[in-house]
């Protein structure tokens, strides 16, 4: 590493860049707010994506990982496609989600639980399982809304749009071997 490339200082900014393909564009942020302006969930966010980037730059790790911004993201990619500096903002949001989950910094959101339930089904069956998601995640996290879902669930069911049993792929062991390897590699 040549001396002209900034020495690593162990900042949060570097950490986020490291964990995001294309993340090095982060340093180009000019704080224009086109991400925050574009976000369909902008009103729900405690900090706009722009603010979050400023906080990353200010090394405010704790506040960033505890923010609700990531959990309000709907992955519409407007921020990414409109960013005048080509910063992969949605991908950075994913990075922050992963960090926040790994360190259990999130609060007041069920998104991590949803993600876990969902991915557990994938790990187990190789396919997603909507009924299982409904029963597992919703019963656990939001029994009241589950009640409201009742009629819709019934409609879905009568129209043949919901299965009661998960589909399992034939070569589930193969998929699991791949997933386990990935988990092993990313643990490093």
């Amino acid at each position: 590493m040549a001396a002209h490339i900034a020495e690593k200082k162990g900042t949060f900014l570097e950490e986020v860049i490291e964990a995001t393909p294309g993340g090095e564009r982060l340093v180009h942020c000019i704080q224009c707010g086109s991400c925050g302006g574009s976000c369909p969930s902008g009103a729900e966010m405690q900090y706009t994506p722009r603010t979050l980037i400023a906080m990353i730059g200010a090394n405010d790790r704790d506040a960033v990982l505890a923010a609700n911004t990531m959990w309000a993201c709907v992955s519409c990619y407007f921020c990414t496609s409109r960013c005048p500096q080509n910063i992969p903002i949605t991908d950075i949001i994913y990075t922050l989600k992963r960090m926040s989950i790994a360190e259990k910094r999130y609060h007041d959101t069920d998104a991590p639980a949803l993600a876990k339930t969902f991915t557990d089904f994938v790990d187990r069956y190789g396919r997603s399982f909507e009924f299982g998601l409904a029963t597992g995640y919703h019963l656990l996290k939001r029994p009241i809304s589950m009640m409201k879902m009742g009629p819709m669930g019934l409609q879905m069911f009568t129209r043949g749009r919901m299965a009661l049993r998960p589909t399992k792929i034939r070569q589930i062991e193969q998929l699991q071997a791949i997933i386990n390897k990935a988990k092993e590699l990313s643990a490093k």
Binding site: P88, E130, R161
Partner: protein, 294 residues
Amino acid sequence: MKYAYYPGCSLERNAAAYDHSVREVADLLGIRLQEIDDWNCCGATEYFSRNELAACAVIARNLALVEPQTDQLVAPCAACYLNLIKTDKLMVDHPEFGKEVNQCLAAGGLKYEPGRVTVRHMLDVIVDDIGETAVRDKVVRPLAGLRVAPYYGCQVVRPISNNDNPEYPMKMDHLLKWLGAEVVDYPVKAHCCGGHMTQISEPQAFELIRRLLQNAQDYVADMIVCMCPMCQLNLDGYQSRVNGFFGTEFKLPIMYFTQMLGIAFGIDPQKLGFGKEIVTAMPVLEAKLGGQPV
């Protein structure tokens, strides 16, 4: 023309209408779809929230399973489409990461050469590969008089270009015009349906759904035509709850674009999965297309 086909989990059940209509329309247009054997879930947006490498490895398994005879892979679901194309692009752009993904695949005895497979959305295949003339030739029941609002959602047009404008896409507009429909040019056609937010924060999700329904209604659309099972579920399945939540009275059928192609082509609506939608399309179709349209 031969394409590998990745239906994705939604199309198995919840969006069976999409799957059926895709297959029917493909058949008629001479698009040969070969379903990937033993494909697995793409992980939706959820897997990326937990583990990027695992997410990509899970997706790459499907890419690796694409038979060597074709390098074209069709995915009708927007989330599946983006996940597949994004994983391939990550592996191409970041060779080190690509190697890691392949290390994972190797654990399952598989290998994927980044860039080998071109991931396509069904809409692009029909508009770009089949083209206007071939589509118009097949139309036996023009959708004249029907005001349709094409709804693109997010993940097919952004962030990776499908040769359409990511802000104001036009491909479905063109396609529906070829079918004779009156296309509603409304500004939110590529805005968000709420995605998985219905599962996390209903008020937030319902507001996003309302914006779309409201704008389509303001522009006097008879129905919304979409290209993603998640969009369909949110706009259709949750429509009555949105009405309850905001006191609105939306009654907009939400159909897949392949279903509309199918009826314009004169395919039996039963085969196209008509009737599986919760806000029924029958009344408006009967009223606008006259007689016994379906």
